[in-house]
Point group: T
Chain length 152, copies 12
Amino acid sequence: MAERPEGIRVGVLHGPNLNLLGRREPERYGSEELDSINRRLAARGTELGVEVDFFQSNIEGELVDWIQRTGSDFGGLLVNAAGYTHTSVAIRDALKAIGTPFVEVHLTNIYARESFRHHSYLSDIAVALVAGFGGDSYLLALEGLVAYLRRE
Amino acid sequence: MAERPEGIRVGVLHGPNLNLLGRREPERYGSEELDSINRRLAARGTELGVEVDFFQSNIEGELVDWIQRTGSDFGGLLVNAAGYTHTSVAIRDALKAIGTPFVEVHLTNIYARESFRHHSYLSDIAVALVAGFGGDSYLLALEGLVAYLRRE
Amino acid sequence: MAERPEGIRVGVLHGPNLNLLGRREPERYGSEELDSINRRLAARGTELGVEVDFFQSNIEGELVDWIQRTGSDFGGLLVNAAGYTHTSVAIRDALKAIGTPFVEVHLTNIYARESFRHHSYLSDIAVALVAGFGGDSYLLALEGLVAYLRRE
Amino acid sequence: MAERPEGIRVGVLHGPNLNLLGRREPERYGSEELDSINRRLAARGTELGVEVDFFQSNIEGELVDWIQRTGSDFGGLLVNAAGYTHTSVAIRDALKAIGTPFVEVHLTNIYARESFRHHSYLSDIAVALVAGFGGDSYLLALEGLVAYLRRE
Amino acid sequence: MAERPEGIRVGVLHGPNLNLLGRREPERYGSEELDSINRRLAARGTELGVEVDFFQSNIEGELVDWIQRTGSDFGGLLVNAAGYTHTSVAIRDALKAIGTPFVEVHLTNIYARESFRHHSYLSDIAVALVAGFGGDSYLLALEGLVAYLRRE
Amino acid sequence: MAERPEGIRVGVLHGPNLNLLGRREPERYGSEELDSINRRLAARGTELGVEVDFFQSNIEGELVDWIQRTGSDFGGLLVNAAGYTHTSVAIRDALKAIGTPFVEVHLTNIYARESFRHHSYLSDIAVALVAGFGGDSYLLALEGLVAYLRRE
Amino acid sequence: MAERPEGIRVGVLHGPNLNLLGRREPERYGSEELDSINRRLAARGTELGVEVDFFQSNIEGELVDWIQRTGSDFGGLLVNAAGYTHTSVAIRDALKAIGTPFVEVHLTNIYARESFRHHSYLSDIAVALVAGFGGDSYLLALEGLVAYLRRE
Amino acid sequence: MAERPEGIRVGVLHGPNLNLLGRREPERYGSEELDSINRRLAARGTELGVEVDFFQSNIEGELVDWIQRTGSDFGGLLVNAAGYTHTSVAIRDALKAIGTPFVEVHLTNIYARESFRHHSYLSDIAVALVAGFGGDSYLLALEGLVAYLRRE
Amino acid sequence: MAERPEGIRVGVLHGPNLNLLGRREPERYGSEELDSINRRLAARGTELGVEVDFFQSNIEGELVDWIQRTGSDFGGLLVNAAGYTHTSVAIRDALKAIGTPFVEVHLTNIYARESFRHHSYLSDIAVALVAGFGGDSYLLALEGLVAYLRRE
Amino acid sequence: MAERPEGIRVGVLHGPNLNLLGRREPERYGSEELDSINRRLAARGTELGVEVDFFQSNIEGELVDWIQRTGSDFGGLLVNAAGYTHTSVAIRDALKAIGTPFVEVHLTNIYARESFRHHSYLSDIAVALVAGFGGDSYLLALEGLVAYLRRE
Amino acid sequence: MAERPEGIRVGVLHGPNLNLLGRREPERYGSEELDSINRRLAARGTELGVEVDFFQSNIEGELVDWIQRTGSDFGGLLVNAAGYTHTSVAIRDALKAIGTPFVEVHLTNIYARESFRHHSYLSDIAVALVAGFGGDSYLLALEGLVAYLRRE
Amino acid sequence: MAERPEGIRVGVLHGPNLNLLGRREPERYGSEELDSINRRLAARGTELGVEVDFFQSNIEGELVDWIQRTGSDFGGLLVNAAGYTHTSVAIRDALKAIGTPFVEVHLTNIYARESFRHHSYLSDIAVALVAGFGGDSYLLALEGLVAYLRRE
């Protein structure tokens, strides 16, 4: 997993309330803030030879806009749609429209939480999913995604 | 269906991801772009003697705003709420609040797709529905709506 | 939608109780009788350059017979199976057996009525569906179907 | 299974759309026509020393009539109610009324198809069932039924 | 309940398999034949001063035809749709179309039998229902219906 | 149904809120009071040669007490458990314990009302049921019950 | 399990219809009467060094009253709520309010009976449950409860 | 909300186990006893110019009796049916029979508790509901009810 | 409830379509406009010695933004999420993230309306709820909330 | 329950993970080890005059083997299938095949635990069940079973 | 069906409890033992010109092992997984992994038995299924399978 | 993630059919064999400074045995229970009994496959889960687990 390919870019999409990370229910979500996760992702990306970009919004339609506008620029995406994971057909449709492969990411193990979090509109069209490692979920998903993209 | 009434205006509401039309999964949605459909609707409106206006947004609340602000200016609406069809009580409430009659429109036959697309928050308060003719769905719905408005 | 192709024929299937049209619950189904709808369909067919044939029966198996015997003679069908829409696997099988494309038609918006009318055995194998415009539902479906047949 | 008993007669009931066999979706139902199956059944009946009679109709009530009128003349029945398998309480009641033992027959493996074909109104009152061997289903069912009748 | 009104006529509809009465599972349905019930109904009608007519068919569509053709000639109906009770939207629609008040009748207590007999497409639009008294169910229903018609 | 047997007694059980009859929602339950129904039942009983006794209570346990204490004194019961029909396993158990045959009675057609009234804890252990004739429901049930008791 | 503690008292609650024991469906519930069970419980209590008190009522609210008034006087309870097991939130609330530990008791194996007896409002707040040993269920539950109370 | 109308009287109905208030699970229901709530309601009633009466029972049928006997004497009711909220069709029927407007009251937020407490037989026929403020729920409901009664 | 505490501030959140109040379906929602409710809340706040702030938006994500940015500045919130009540996990997550206690408010009795309005994503994390008093719902909720905040 | 019958033998079946008893989640299952329970059962068996044998395995098929091979040698069984209680049709079939009466035993009250433990494949074919008394559950079940066997 | 192909071998897999055949509930499964069925299969195989091998185990994992180790040596399989039919994803996966065509076999008509036997993890990947002929089910399945293999 | 802690050992559990890896449906599971994955895990473990052990079995009870016997020797586990993931309460209980933290691993995205693979008995007690990266799933899970163990 170490050689550097030319030009793979990975987009990272953070959904609603993730901007509160580190302050929102730290006993559940950990004390690491979103900026720290992003910095770790960028550094790991450098090691893996890929460029990593980020976007966060609390507004469902802005997430759809971003996927439409920039989604095709990336080789792959990491998507943590947070609360919209369970309710948004629009985000699902946008991801399906652009066709870029993506990994579904969750900080927590959503299957160990309330039952309305057990259904995801994204899982069945994702390449893979990682959940429950806190901020590390993103890093592991990045590694897995890059390996996947180089294999295809 | 040919005489020209004074002043009937029809509003057309396009929901999330429809701005991608022609590029998004063309084997499913066809290769015609949204602008082309709008031009065909305007032309057909002229033949039928009605004015046709358009609005598209990926943001649920902007669609609600538009319905509230301008919905009462129209004699009737064509509504293709796309992904929000299946999840938005807010759009339903806005349409019910203004009371303007509307026809539900879909490009594809939603009953031949995933089961979460079989339920619509709009069908039971719509005047009628047309689905499965691709871009022609809008044109047929426009004809049906104008006939309905002149009959009432 | 105006040029005249050679030889497209369209079959129209009317299910149980539709022979009562105009007399049965007119506040729901309108006062137009079935003959009038058929005449309008024939006239519109002439404009579109297609021949239109009709059949009505209250007996499920006679509808199946008609589909088998004559269904393949048509380029496409308009099917309003009325009460059998919600209960007949046999009609579904017959339509699937002959493979002729068809549009599902309803006079009323079935999604605004009793819940047992929300499920149709035909929707997922139909090309498209039109519902809620009264007798105009058939005319719009005819236009849509002819355009579809010329496009394929 | 080879000795010839005196006078066992077996009735074979074919439900709706089976008259299309060989032409309807041959990739699913095979290319053998109903007449061929009937001829094979008659021949196999001769070998087994039983007489075999046949009836096909697309009309639910005619199937009920036939069961009532002639059902008691047979030692046993082979019943392939096709689409009515899943919807007809009337056929069930008729079979129960005459009390003749019968084997439920299906050309295809109905449990590998749409879920609405998984429920049968006949299975729980049948002696046995055979499904999935195409036309051979009937022949195997005939053998099994004759062995059953001689054992009783 | 004894005075004779001018011209009340009552229609009695017997559904599939009821022509077998007296021979079909007598331990469940009793040994009285349908003719005997009809004679008792006619005699009781004479006492009550009403004329009683009868119709039986095993074919769903013929029952629909009869309801359409003659249903409006009667002041009220007794309807025992037998097996079609649980599956026929078409009979329901026909009864609703003509609007004649009717009483739902069953020989047996359908709620003490298989669960698929617990749902009826007729109960919620019937004036009343009587079940479980064998042939007497019809006679009691006739009395109740006549009293109802004179009160309205 | 006219000869007088020695000593058949019939008990009539009226459940909660039936003491309000004639004043409670008369557009639904009619204007006849419970005393009037009881008087009519007694008179009809005299004609049929049976004695009829009555009991009403709003308290579930008192109804259970009465069934236990006096239920075995009767040849049969008419039971209108009203609101407890849908919630009381205790009344069901009491009726089953004494084993006296009973007819379930309802003033209204409970299947045309709220869905929580469609399930009854009594129907499957009743001999028969009558519903929807208003006060006449009791009288018809009495006739049917007496005929049943004389037949057994 | 033999030493005698000072002052443990156990209350036994019998729900509706249990006063009929020995006469009600003896093939299901056995021929032993409630008094006999109570005498056996008292004798077994003496052996175990505990005092045992009893209460029976057919009235849900009286059972609630008794639990409220005397429930806290006991170290533990044996509760056989009979028919109210499956329908009474009020008894559940009363038992939870006083907080006295209790064992749920049933004469029969309720899981081998009608499905509406499979759910209990008491099981999840009980210490333990015993079912299916007839009158012995109470005696075994008493032993288990006393051992439990001495262990805590 | 301050002027004094002539003669408005409000009835307050307390269901099962509420007589234990202050002693039953105080960490959930608070330490205020029912008498104290009643005194506060009476005092607040005096300020608002209305008379307030009270009734508590653990017996379902007694609550029904009280509603029947005195319910029509009041302009409006506050109803906290406690455990019977979720199981009593009889109380629902009694409230509907008298037609007096009522507000549903709960001490706790029933939607944050066990799922069987999420359904109420009263909510859909209540004017309004207040839940979760402990004893204050009654006081706020009283204010809201009086304002409602003066507005109608 | 009259002494003035220092510095309690209450935030009021109005969801989609509430800006239409007074014009949207007045027979359901009343003729009072949102501004009037806000003025009444401010005045009542002054009497209770608390400051009241307001926010309305039709856009789900803006409501989330507002909760995140300003939610912690308040001692408590009144939340009427309107149509988003039934569909928004994102608003639920935001309210849970900031941890500020809130009361759920509805103008109408949502349990007397369509079934999809019976489920709320907010009820189980709310302190309390008030529904059905029209604009007064907010005022009563304000009183209850302030009492709650002073008690904690 | 004290006289000694000749030759009653009781088999005790312990399912998966029960060999860990005393070390696995002792706060739930108690600190007593399986050997200790077996010794207590043997001793209690001696007092009751019966021989008691034991078997434990973590492998579903070995439990089935044991039931087949030795199950008929016993007068009755105590069965604690642990995790297989909720998933094994094979153990159910084996128990049903040999026909030996058995009592279902659980250390804990399974109805107070996860919902997937509320369903048992054994309860409806067991003679009786005991749950929630820890190791005493076995001892009480042994007493009940022996009394049952002597009574039959 | 009579010519002898070179080298077709058929494997027969018998699941748990089938070794008890002839002794286990003979009124349901018949009195023929497994050895007898195997001998009949071998003889019929000789007639058909195929070799037949057998395996039986009560242990799920051993069945998986056998499928893996020897499954590919066969042209086709007869699989009667008995109780594991309804619970074993592992056997399904093993069969799918080796890809050998197989026929699902049952002695009894599983659709006429308990509902948990109506679902099979094997049916949708089987070529065909035979159920309800007792031991003959295997023989018929063998014939059908051989015909299938020669046709492919 | 690079420093070497003393003594962390990780156990890897492979469930049924994983021994076939590389040969079983390679288009789904890839062509890498299990030995190769194990070698990669051992190598990566060395880099991370942890020891890695392996176990594979097709027999549910042997997996339970291994978890019981050796599970506590490890700091953490990687568990791919394959087909048993969806059916085994016994494996769940064993993992819960030993309390060792574990990561659930799957080669494929189980949420994009048959619906019966969407439920796992392990997810809600796992620390985290990784699915869909083929053999890389194990490697990423190993990294995440080691980071987790060092953080705790």
